[in-house]
Amino acid sequence: MSIQAWEQVKELLHQAMQLAPEQRAPFLDKACSSDVALRAEVESLLLAGEGVVTTRVANANRCRSQIASR
């Protein structure tokens, strides 16, 4: 990815991350218009972002259950 391309992806990703999940698709419809590659890139990163959150929740739950089982 080029520096300019990442700058654009980063900006959209950041804005989309501030939105509730159901608001992201309409936002990207508007922001990416017909740029399919740009949209795919932002969506792929949003998906990875969900992985970050899920792992953190899973880790927290594991800690809790470990503490509870003591």
Binding site: W6, M17, L45, L46, L47, G51, V52, T55, R56
Partner: protein, 191 residues
């Protein structure tokens, strides 16, 4: 660390902050030596469950080189910023040496703020290093921010002060960088 050497480091940090780049040239070898010594000391005592706290090492080096005496907070942040880069280099060199001598494993490294990525050994550390290099190539500032957070444990306000950028920019760069790294590392983790 003799008292005069600690005074020297503080002095060098001050010169460097005032824009004297030569001060950094003198400072780096001192800092590198101390960090390497500390890292090796902790890596020697490796046990299977051993977890290396990189930020603790950087902090320990700071206390040894600069001391706890009333040093301005700004100096501390600049010191940690430089130390975090060296820390990364030391750990990566160490992981490469182990690989070259065909020893398995490596110790688990506890990265603050990196809960979602598992760095359980040499392979993962080297993958993180690669991913970070790729990120720096498209966004140098983000690379620096991640390095300061991961390897030095600097807070967002400290990073904004070291880089002279707004807190909002640090937060934005950090939030997007960790997502990017997460994706990059899960891609390389797959066969």
């Amino acid at each position: 660390m003799p008292a005069n050497e600690s005074g020297k480091v503080t002095e060098l940090l001050r010169h460097w902050k005032q824009g004297d780049e030569r001060a950094l040239d003198t400072l780096l070898p001192l800092l590198y030596k101390e960090l390497r010594r500390l890292a090796h000391y902790h890596l020697q005592s490796e046990r299977p469950d051993h977890t290396l706290q990189t930020t603790a090492l950087v902090h320990e080096a700071y206390l040894r080189l600069v001391g706890a005496q009333s040093v301005e907070l700004q100096n501390r942040a600049h010191f940690i910023a430089v130390a975090s880069r060296l820390m990364r280099q030391i750990l990566v060199d160490y992981a490469r040496e182990r690989r070259a001598s065909k020893r398995d494993g490596g110790c688990r490294i506890a990265f603050e703020y990196l809960e979602a990525l598992s760095v359980k050994g040499d392979a993962e550390l080297l993958a993180l290093d690669d991913a970070l290099n790729e990120l720096s190539a498209i966004d140098e500032r983000q690379g620096k921010i991640v390095e300061m957070k991961f390897f030095g444990g600097l807070s967002a306000p400290e990073i904004s002060q070291v880089l002279g950028i707004s807190r909002a920019t640090v937060d934005r760069d950090w939030a997007t960088a960790r997502v990017w790294l997460h994706r990059q590392m899960s891609r390389t983790a797959r066969p």
